[in-house]
Amino acid sequence: MKEQPSQSLPANAYLNLDPRTKLFLLLIISTIMISGEIRGMALYARLVLAAIPFVLLILGRRAKAAAIYAILFAAAWLAEAFLIYNTKGIANIVIVMLSGLISRFVPCVIMGYYTISTTRVSEFLAAMERMRFPRNITIPIAVMFRFFPTIAEESHSIDNAMKMRGIGARSFVGNPAVALEYRLVPLLMSVVKIGDELSASALTRGLGGPEKRTNVCKIGFGAWDAAFASLAVSAAVFYFVSLGG
């Protein structure tokens, strides 16, 4: 079996938070950034929250992503601060829309990228089991992550097979219904068959047995988890207090 992309991590990350902390940060950041109040002191709370994914990316040795994020966010922030009141007409609408979208949604997307790209699948499952998620949820999620690479691989092979018969991407442009039929149907057929084999093999190896499953991943909260979580919570509290006052 090929190694799944989400299982490869930079081994030299300075810091890796507990998956539960990442989800918690994501919840706070997405709630507050999207609600998007920019008046008064609430502005600073949002700046702090926007900085969290940046710091985490640096600590996770993803400097390139961090740099792109910083430039994008700074540009949108400056545009919101200065350009909006100094431009007119269509340019103004475009700037308002773009900067508004970026400053609200990009921090959440970046935090999501960080969460997904720095969490191994088994770590994620271990965290979900600790949070008492039932087997009915954890087993499908495990299967799902196991299946994404398979779907990509099968889809690639089908693409090649179709090219050999002269049914390339170009013939789909005029006729999307054909694209659905020629790509999705064979894909479903092969994936369903692979799935049947997978469930047979998983069952013989004891998935679904009555015993509690164990996991080799060590997860747990540390000082950094506490630091980031309390930073986010205090920014959130500050945000709501400043809105109320």
Binding site: V96, G100, P140, V143, G208
Partner: protein, 193 residues
């Protein structure tokens, strides 16, 4: 046969959720083209009809659609959508599951209704567009005055939500029919469905 989901069912749910999500992801790419974003609510159920109908032939126990909905909204949340995805998506999935269950996952009419309701979860991903509206229009008002702002607001007003929700239904009905005919033409003949 017991009515509870066994491990084999859970694995099947995982497989179909993976397919559903992959198809959704490819469709969602279209949404990055500025104007086409509006089309996503129509396209999503249209394209996912085929895997969903096949899913319904594989399992017929309560919980299958609920679990799929929970996982899809959980993954969307984990990739940076707002918590609204879960607040809309999970109830939609539960209601769809109840409706499908009442038809024992066989009644065609209930399948159509259930599939449309399940697909409405996409509205959860769209809602922030309207929630950030107030802050957005406040700033326009500061720059342009009332007349201009009111015109713009009436154009982008709340009824767009209704239009999009309706597009999901239209896409859902069409998707269900496409799914069923594809099922008949290909999968039943191949002995998969």
């Amino acid at each position: 046969m017991s009515n509870k989901l066994n491990t084999k069912d859970l694995i099947n749910i995982g497989i179909f959720t993976a397919i559903y999500f992959a198809v959704f992801y490819v469709t969602g790419m279209i949404g990055y083209i500025p104007i086409c974003e509006v089309l996503v609510p129509l396209l999503l159920p249209l394209v996912t009809g085929i895997p969903f109908m096949l899913f319904l032939t594989k399992i017929d126990k309560f919980g299958m659609v609920t679990i799929m909905g929970i996982i899809v909204s959980l993954i969307l949340f984990a990739t940076g959508h707002s918590w609204l995805v879960m607040a809309v998506g999970i109830p939609c999935a539960v209601i769809a599951d109840l409706i499908l269950k009442s038809g024992e996952y066989k009644s065609w009419r209930k399948i159509i209704v259930g599939f449309c309701i399940f697909s409405e979860w996409i509205m959860g991903a769209m809602l922030p567009m309207w929630i950030m509206r107030d802050a957005y229009f406040d700033r326009i008002r500061a720059g342009y005055g009332d007349e201009y702002t009111d015109t713009l607001m009436s154009l982008m007003s709340g009824w767009m939500i209704a239009v999009m929700a309706l597009m999901v239904v239209v896409g859902g009905i069409a998707g269900a029919y496409i799914g069923r005919s594809t099922l008949k033409r290909h999968f039943e003949r191949a002995g998969i469905a």
